[in-house]
């Protein structure tokens, strides 16, 4: 088998076009990775500046009532990580800024896609675009004729009658092509690790990226070689594998993506807001002094502190009400957003299952996942920012309630030291090992294809095909 691979590589290397294309690929990948990291760095810089800026504003709050500060709020800016320079996933179309304030959970806004004309339907030219679309296509070009050429020129007969099995020849040919894809992949990851910052977490993620793309390239090269041996001639082999490539990369992801959204529909914003509003109205309205539930809470606290009026309470009842309002609001949010999250997860799972028919979606999902730019990482950011909002509001409301002011004293203020003492929002990309459960289906689907194709090659290639 080694001999066949060596001869195959000699064939590649002695072809000038192949050498030029390879050189072009390597240079392009170098440039693309460099530009990706540069763009990522710029974005990261802007994000850090924006985050620092709002923190500075927060820390410079002087003599402000805590509840006023709750309305003043702060912002969480979605960070980018170094691997986003390889695959920006959903980052371009999701918002980047979320306001964290009292009484309300805002939506993440200001997506990049909404800030200009539409440009590319397949994303920016990041290394993932080359690795997902261009290199597999080149592998197809290398593989489609590898055996049909041998058949057309009758060389295959010679090879088989020299005692080599057709299965072995097919494997050797597909491995030759696969090694080429793998080489380009390793070069990309190597350039990425040299030019970008790499720590253990990023390294682990890169290893998973290599494995995922490696398996996908194996699938593509095996399938192309298999079709090359099965089909009558070059043209049939090429047209069939191209048809499969188009169905996998263009057709199925969109059709199935639309279908899953119809199978598990999300509510419209209007109906979502209305139902949130209805549920929210059942809780305490922190700003409505005539609210009945507020009255009940008042009675409870008066009894607890054994006083007869709010004036005599040693704490600020307004802060208590605000926190109650928040906690009820949190429950409502958990219910409704939790429902949306569940739907999103169901949609994602159903979409991932299509990997049985289309390994490309598994690869895409894994690539985004390992680069930290998929829906799960986005939801993680949203969750962390909501957790921070709750921490922030609780700290402010507790200060309001127990910081020394009395009920109704809205002019009571706190100094900047208090605001400085509240931790800033920071978000770190979660450890990939803690996220693996989300990608099991994708991995199983890729491995299924990776094992199934060699089996098919083994059992379906025989001398009759020669």
């Amino acid at each position: 088998m080694i001999n066949i691979i060596i001869v195959e590589w000699k064939r590649f290397i002695r072809n000038k076009l192949f050498v030029y294309v390879t050189a072009f690929f390597i240079l392009s990948l170098l440039l693309i990775v460099f530009l990706g990291i540069e763009q990522n760095y710029n974005q990261q810089l802007r994000q850090t500046q924006a985050q620092k800026y709002v923190r500075q504003q927060w820390e410079s709050l002087e003599n402000v009532n805590p509840h006023r500060a709750a309305h003043y709020g702060t912002y969480a800016f979605k960070p980018v990580n170094v691997l986003n320079s390889m695959d920006s996933g959903i980052n371009d179309i999701t918002g980047n800024v979320i306001k964290l304030e009292g009484h309300v959970q805002n939506e993440i806004v200001y997506s990049e896609a909404s800030q200009s004309l539409s440009i590319s339907k397949f994303g920016k030219l990041k290394s993932s675009l080359i690795l997902q679309y261009v290199i597999p296509l080149f592998l197809i070009f290398l593989a489609y004729g590898s055996l049909s050429n041998e058949k057309e020129t009758q060389r295959l007969k010679l090879l088989v009658f020299q005692g080599t099995s057709l299965t072995k020849i097919t494997f050797a040919k597909s491995l030759s092509v696969w090694i080429y894809g793998l080489t380009l992949l390793v070069i990309t990851i190597f350039i990425q690790s040299i030019l970008g910052e790499t720590d253990l977490e990023i390294f682990t993620r890169m290893m998973f990226i290599i494995i995922s793309y490696g398996v996908y390239y194996f699938i593509v090269s095996s399938l192309a070689t298999y079709l090359s041996v099965r089909l009558r001639n070059n043209t049939s082999a090429l047209s069939s594998i191209l048809a499969i490539w188009i169905i996998w990369t263009i057709f199925l992801p969109k059709i199935w993506g639309n279908a899953v959204e119809k199978i598990y529909p999300l509510p419209s914003r209007q109906s979502f807001k209305t139902s949130m509003k209805i549920d929210r109205s059942k809780g305490i309205d922190g700003h409505n002094p005539t609210d009945k539930r507020r009255e009940d809470l008042k009675v409870k606290y008066l009894a607890q502190y054994d006083v007869d009026s709010l004036k005599n309470l040693p704490i600020n009842f307004d802060g208590i009400v605000m926190q109650q309002d928040e906690e009820y609001g949190n429950l409502v949010w958990d219910k409704h957003f939790g429902n949306n999250y569940n739907i999103l997860q169901r949609q994602k799972t159903l979409f991932q299952i299509s990997g049985i028919l289309n390994p490309f979606v598994s690869l895409q999902s894994l690539s985004m996942g390992f680069c930290g730019s998929d829906m799960y990482h986005h939801l993680d950011f949203l969750k962390k920012s909501e957790d921070y909002r709750r921490y922030l509001l609780k700290t402010l409301n507790d200060k309001h309630a127990y910081g020394g002011s009395r009920t109704g004293d809205w002019k009571w203020t706190v100094g900047s030291n208090f605001f400085k003492s509240i931790d800033d929002f920071s978000h770190q990309i979660p450890k990939i090992t803690s996220q693996m459960e989300h990608y099991l289906i994708d991995m199983i689907c890729l491995l299924f294809w990776g094992f199934m194709l060699p089996m098919i090659i083994k059992h379906r290639t025989n001398r009759d095909l020669v």
Partner: protein
């Protein structure tokens, strides 16, 4: 000419004898139907949502009218937010700015899924409020994109053409009988042109037929005829572009595989790589805007306004809105803080507008930068042209934002005028407001 006609007519035989091509053609038709269906569904969904909101608005208007009647008859006390003041009356006048979808949306969803299409407009609104962000949707699905007619036509039509054309002139070379063709009193170019013409005619007629039928069903022909004609011309230009490219590939091709590889490489370059490069360069040059200027206005600057004294604010208001000079309150010597409080949204709006102008200018620069690549990036040009025809491109939503701003301005002007003239709002006046903003 008759030879040309003969070849053209004979081509149907070649097509019919290629089941692979027929299946591809059928798949393409299926994709078009599916794409138009998606477009029509979004069009219907948006219309339904708009209708539902309008219905809700009517209900809340009726509630308010009942409230006015109760207050006027003395059956009800004025609530905390007094509806007899112009400020709260206008606040309670539900006015939504809708971006009514064009029926041409059937042909292109464009950027419609990246923006909101309805917004409750108040005097505190701005054109970058969070309720103007996209509908709730699966972000991964949005990233993959929806299979609409525009996508099918722009990206899949060339693939259909590749499959239909890759062996035209290639098969003859593969089987080495191309010389026999050239010996039949016809040049390679003429023969190829005649064969290409067949596919040009059938696919163009298919597109015209299909789009006309869809347009008829969606009511486009009745409402958007000029836009529809514009779409047909765009389709024609796009088809011609690909036919020209593919013609030269086949003319100089060495066989079916060689032609197929060249065609798919050109497709990959034009549809994926070049737009990807432009996208990446644009992002590097114009990174995502975190809107800190806007956030500043909504927090810091408005905070400054709230902290200013009533006298200062009155002065600023009078200089920002000179027509207030002739109102009752401007002549008053006694300061009424509540009037000032109800007017400050006007000042915040001025700040918002300044920031919006800056953001829109930055976006404009970004768009101009993208357009500089048009000569080498034809796919994006055609894609945005169809989006524009369907009213789903960036500019359609830019106009929508301007429309929202005009409503905000109108509301503020009315609040200021009526508040400063100390008008008391009754049922009739409220209905006047309702009529003005709906």
């Amino acid at each position: 000419m008759s030879g040309y006609y003969q070849i053209l007519m004979s081509e149907s035989l070649h097509l019919i004898r290629s089941p692979f091509k027929i299946i591809t053609l059928l798949l393409f038709i299926f994709a078009m139907v599916y794409g138009c269906k998606n477009g029509y569904e979004l069009f219907e969904k948006q219309n339904n949502e708009i209708n539902a909101i309008s219905k809700e608005n009517k209900a809340s208007i009726n509630e308010m009218i009942v409230q006015y009647e109760a207050i006027e008859s003395g059956d009800q006390e004025k609530p905390r937010r007094d509806p007899t003041t112009p400020y709260w009356a206008i606040w309670n006048t539900p006015s939504y700015a809708f971006k009514h979808p064009s029926s041409m949306m059937v042909f292109s969803l464009g950027q419609a899924e990246q923006y909101g299409y309805y917004k409750r407009v108040t005097n505190w609104s701005s054109t970058f409020d969070s309720d103007l962000s996209e509908e709730i949707a699966n972000p991964e699905r949005l990233a993959i994109g929806t299979l609409d007619f525009n996508f099918v036509f722009i990206y899949l039509y060339p693939i259909l053409m590749i499959i239909l054309l890759f062996n035209i002139g290639g098969l003859e070379k593969d089987l080495r009988f191309y010389r026999l063709i050239y010996l039949q009193n016809i040049t390679n170019a003429k023969w190829l042109f005649a064969r290409f013409s067949f596919y040009f005619i059938i696919t163009f007629l298919l597109m015209v037929g299909f789009t006309s039928f869809s347009a008829l069903l969606a009511g486009v022909l009745k409402n958007e005829l000029p836009n529809f004609i514009n779409l047909l011309f765009t389709i024609l230009a796009y088809i011609l572009m690909w036919f020209t490219i593919f013609f030269f590939i086949n003319y100089f091709g060495k066989g079916s595989s060689d032609q197929a590889m060249k065609m798919i490489t050109i497709w990959l370059a034009l549809c994926i790589v070049i737009p990807g490069i432009v996208h990446q360069i644009t992002s590097t040059r114009y990174p995502t805007n975190y809107m800190t200027d806007y956030l500043d206005v909504s927090r810091e600057h408005s905070n400054d306004i709230f902290e200013s004294s009533a006298d200062t604010l009155r002065m600023i208001l009078l200089s920002s809105f000179p027509n207030l000079e002739h109102t009752q309150f401007s002549a008053d010597t006694i300061m009424d803080k509540s009037i000032i409080n109800r007017s400050v949204s006007g000042l915040v709006n001025v700040l918002n507008k300044n920031v919006a102008f800056k953001i829109e200018s930055l976006n404009k620069d970004k768009n101009e930068f993208i357009k500089k690549f048009n000569p080498i990036n034809p796919i994006t040009v055609f894609q945005n042209q169809i989006n524009s025809i369907a009213g789903t491109d960036y500019y359609a939503y830019h106009h929508y934002r301007r429309y929202i701003q005009s409503i905000i301005d109108e509301k503020i002007e009315l609040i200021l005028e009526d508040t400063w003239n100390k008008k008391v709002v009754n049922k009739e006046k409220y209905i006047e407001y309702v009529t003005k903003f709906n």
